[in-house]
């Protein structure tokens, strides 16, 4: 596959790169932990939830996650956007990160695009770092750029070709929202709202807004209830790339 500048999309040009925590040697790990305070990490931890607790967010009924997320894994995660710029997943001012896993030709995910954008618009200024994680390994950077423009998505878009974030988050469906607080703990994983009940069955409008409820809880320092819901949409095949 060839990227927008005509280079082959392989190796270190993968658009999502795992950060320090999982693969880099100890030196790098130490560096990262030095950086942690700058990231504003742990600022948001609540007394009732020690920051080190690890939670794999798995929607009920779904297969077990490919890997278990750890707090350091999330906090040190680096991501590369469609322009090739590398970012830390968390920046100093972020109170939490929202990842929305997305297949660009999944009709249910696309139907949610305006809602996702609204959440970005209203929660971005409140300290929620919203990222759209495109997971279709077959998509080109150019297609994904056009997709974001067509659907009016203005948050950073990542291309998780190797499904690294997918595995870290245990995401199984498009669209699926995963909220990670500034301690690196996954606080919510699941649907955006309850409009879709199953494939081919939807309510005229949502009656529960699980994701925004979760974000409000995180911002208010409360536990998210329920912390996992079942997302309805297109399945992320583990071997799709």
């Amino acid at each position: 596959m060839v990227d927008h500048r005509g280079r082959r999309m392989r190796g270190n040009r993968v658009v999502v790169r795992s950060g320090c925590g999982r693969t880099l040697p100890a030196v790098a790990l130490a560096m990262c932990s030095i950086l942690l305070p700058l990231c504003g990490c742990r600022r948001d931890s609540t007394p009732s939830t020690p920051s080190v607790s690890l939670q794999a967010a798995v929607p009920p009924g779904d297969a077990s996650p490919a890997s278990v997320s750890t707090d350091t894994a999330w906090l040190e995660q680096q991501v590369v956007d469609l322009d090739g710029t590398t970012h830390r997943l968390f920046r100093a001012t972020d109170r939490a990160a929202l990842l929305v896993f997305f297949l660009q030709d999944c009709p249910i995910a696309n139907a949610y695009a305006p809602r996702i954008e609204r959440i970005h618009q209203s929660y971005g200024p409140r300290g929620i770092r919203c990222l759209l994680v495109q997971v279709d390994a077959r998509a080109t950077i150019d297609q994904l750029r056009k997709h974001a423009v067509a659907y009016g998505l203005t948050m950073p878009v990542m291309h998780d070709r190797q499904h690294e974030l997918v595995k870290l988050a245990g995401a199984t469906v498009s669209p699926q929202a995963v909220v990670i607080d500034a301690t690196g703990r996954v606080r919510y994983s699941g649907r955006i709202d309850d409009q879709y009940v199953e494939l081919g069955k939807k309510r005229p409008a949502a009656t529960r807004h699980d994701l925004t409820d979760a974000l409000e809880s995180v911002l208010a320092g409360r536990e998210v209830q329920p912390p996992t819901t079942r997302a309805v949409g297109c399945y992320l095949e583990s071997d799709a790339h």
Binding site: D105, P107, D136, Y151, L199, K201, K202, R203, C234, A240
Partner: protein, 624 residues
């Protein structure tokens, strides 16, 4: 969806030598083509050892049953044409086929095979499950059958006439589904027999289903003009009807087909096409502009199917009730073939059954839908139309779920829902397209079913009047049905009430005049027609009836003027054509008289009296 204006908006006066009430639905009539039968692929679940493979097992199923929609330019969201396409969605495909959401096909098998059935066998479903669960084996793709041939342009070839929405409709990125009726004038110089219509939306992704309807009286054009955007809102296209008894529906992947020989229908100049579309927002702003191709034939129809509806307008579902049932019946007075049917309900619809109980008591399932889904509605037709003897009872049995367990319930929390045309109301209709096996049977069915339809209108009008005693349209409908069912004397007090309630209603004055005329009160009738024309100078039927008064009094010149005026307003009004022809015959203008009768015959090819009159006139002309 389909409303039968010839029934719901009344009947027209037709005169040969005596006055008689006639249903215009008796004219023309016909049907849509029978689609070619789907050919079953037999997928061998076993494969060649080692579990099912794409090449040997799954590919052929997908090519046969999915590719027609899941290919570029069609309505489905992604392609299912290659191993990668299918393997990358294996889990989802296994799920949607197991739940029978895909391929979309609501009915269960009944007593008679439906044409164009899209239903996987249990074995095919199992094959897909096994393949998805066992490593999605590719197999040797050399053995893969070729993709079925699929047309990309007009399915029926270059049409004789293409009409197009003059502007695109802009669909917002999100929000509730949109039901919109687009009115497209049909430029036609002379009446044509239509053998097929094909809809081509430029953006198939957003069109969930569509019906092609027509409007003869400009009403839809007015509704369109009153709405700033292209088309006008409405789940039930107000003012539109299905063309001459034909059901023309469109869903993703539906094949357009020609009517078989002898079943074309007449399209007259001045008719508007109404494209009713159910549009689903996709997440980004979309625009949609559809075109419709017409295919004409020079072969006048020789077979004349009719439309029958079983329905309830009394639907009243308490909040929370999850199994509200309606049941209606109609016993056929004559032998018919059932060509096809359309069931219709809104979002509370749960199950649907269409049964036929034969005179010997044998019960057959014509259609059974275990889980109604408004989104996938359409028309169904039989591979071989079943023949039902006289005395067979057709049964409609629908159930509704107005509880919160029905996720499609438009009300949260549930509310009482009654009959109505809006998406938050409910409906229960079952339309049959039938072909009586003899002309006499056809006349019998027309008369018998006509009485039933009038009775329904009367009942419904009474209900409307209980809610609003000053509903002038309901009063007029009640008066019209009383006129037809009981005679003029019974209808006069009702229609006088209509005029009293709304003195400026042109139709109230017209129908009062019409009933007076039927009652022999010519002077009073004339006065009412003049009042009608004072309110609405172009009220066509008032001109026609004034012509009738002149014709009865043998004032031929004046009758001729009135009928000509009527035809200026509605050039293909069969009764005016016939009566003007009669006036001309009486004035010894045989050639033009015969021409007019022939035109009337074209519009109303099954009218026996008209046919007799035409034969007499031709004989008279020959004897000259």
């Amino acid at each position: 969806m389909i409303r039968d204006k010839s029934v719901s908006a009344g009947f027209h006066l037709r005169v040969v030598f005596a006055l008689m009430v006639h249903f215009l639905s008796g004219c023309g009539g016909g049907r849509e083509a029978v689609e070619p039968e789907a050919v079953e692929t037999s997928a061998n679940a076993a494969g060649q050892g080692g579990g099912p493979t794409f090449a040997h097992d799954v590919g052929p199923i997908v090519f046969q049953h999915c590719a027609v929609c899941h290919r570029p330019g069609e309505g489905a969201p992604f392609e299912l044409l290659t191993y990668a396409d299918v393997a990358s969605r294996a889990t989802q495909i296994a799920e949607v086929t197991a739940t029978r959401y895909m391929p979309p096909w609501l009915p269960e098998p009944g007593s008679h095979r439906l044409a164009f059935e899209r239903r996987l066998t249990e074995a095919q479903i199992q094959t897909i499950q096994a393949w998805a669960a066992n490593g999605k084996l590719r197999g040797d793709e050399a053995g893969l059958p070729p993709l079925p041939e699929m047309t990309t342009g007009w399915q029926l070839g270059e049409p004789d006439l293409v009409v197009r929405m003059d502007r695109a409709f802009e669909l917002p990125a999100e929000g509730r589904d949109v039901y919109r009726n687009f009115v497209v004038p049909i430029p036609l110089e002379r009446p044509r027999w239509v053998s097929a219509m094909e809809l081509r939306p430029d953006n198939r992704r957003v069109v969930h289903h569509a019906f092609l309807l027509v409007s003869h009286d400009g009403m839809c054009r007015r509704l369109d003009a009153a709405d700033a955007e292209p088309g006008y809102e409405g789940m039930e296209a107000e003012g539109a009807e299905s063309p001459d008894g034909h059901f023309v529906s469109w869903q993703p992947g539906k094949m357009a087909t020609h009517a078989p020989d002898g079943m074309a229908w007449l399209l007259t100049p001045g008719t508007d096409l109404v494209v009713q579309m159910h549009l689903q927002p996709t997440g980004k702003p979309e625009s949609v502009q559809a075109e419709v191709g017409f295919y004409f034939t020079d072969q006048p129809p020789t077979r004349f199917p009719m439309k029958l509806a079983l329905r309830s307008t009394e639907i009243d579902i308490p909040a929370g009730v999850d199994n509200y049932t309606i049941e209606t019946r109609y016993t056929l007075p004559t032998e018919v073939r059932i060509i096809g049917l359309i069931p219709h309900a809104h979002y509370l619809g749960k199950t649907m059954e269409a049964l036929a109980i034969r005179p010997d008591g044998r019960e057959e399932v014509l259609l059974r839908i275990p889980a109604w889904d408004f989104n996938w509605q359409g028309d169904y037709r039989f591979a071989t139309p079943p023949l039902l003897p006289s005395g067979t009872t057709l049964v409609q049995r629908f159930t509704y779920d107005n509880s919160s367990a029905n996720v499609r319930n438009p009300h949260t929390p549930p509310q009482r829902v009654r009959y109505g045309l809006q998406s938050v109301d409910e409906m229960g209709e079952l339309w049959f397209q039938v072909e009586p096996t003899s002309p006499a049977g056809r006349a019998q069915l027309q008369a018998d079913y006509g009485r039933r339809a009038l009775q329904e209108i009367a009942d419904q009008s009474r209900r409307r009047l209980r809610e609003n005693p000053r509903d002038v349209k309901a009063i007029i409908d009640l008066g019209k049905s009383a006129l037809a069912l009981q005679g003029p004397a019974a209808s006069l007090p009702i229609l006088r009430q209509a005029v009293h309630v709304q003195a400026n209603s042109a139709s109230a004055h017209y129908y009062l005049g019409h009933a007076l005329l039927r009652n022999g009160d010519v002077t009073e009738a004339t006065a009412e027609f003049r009042r009608t024309q004072a309110i609405e100078p172009d009220y066509q039927m008032a001109w026609h009836d004034l012509g009738m008064i002149d014709l009865q009094a043998n004032r031929l010149k004046s009758a001729e003027n009135n009928f000509r005026r009527s035809l200026q307003i509605a050039p293909y009004h069969a009764t005016s054509l016939m009566n003007l022809g009669l006036v001309l015959l009486k004035q010894n203008q045989l050639t033009e008289g015969i021409q007019l009768l022939e035109q009337a015959m074209q519009v109303c090819p099954t009218d026996q009296r008209l046919n007799d009159l035409l034969q007499q006139a031709r004989q008279a002309a020959q004897q000259r």
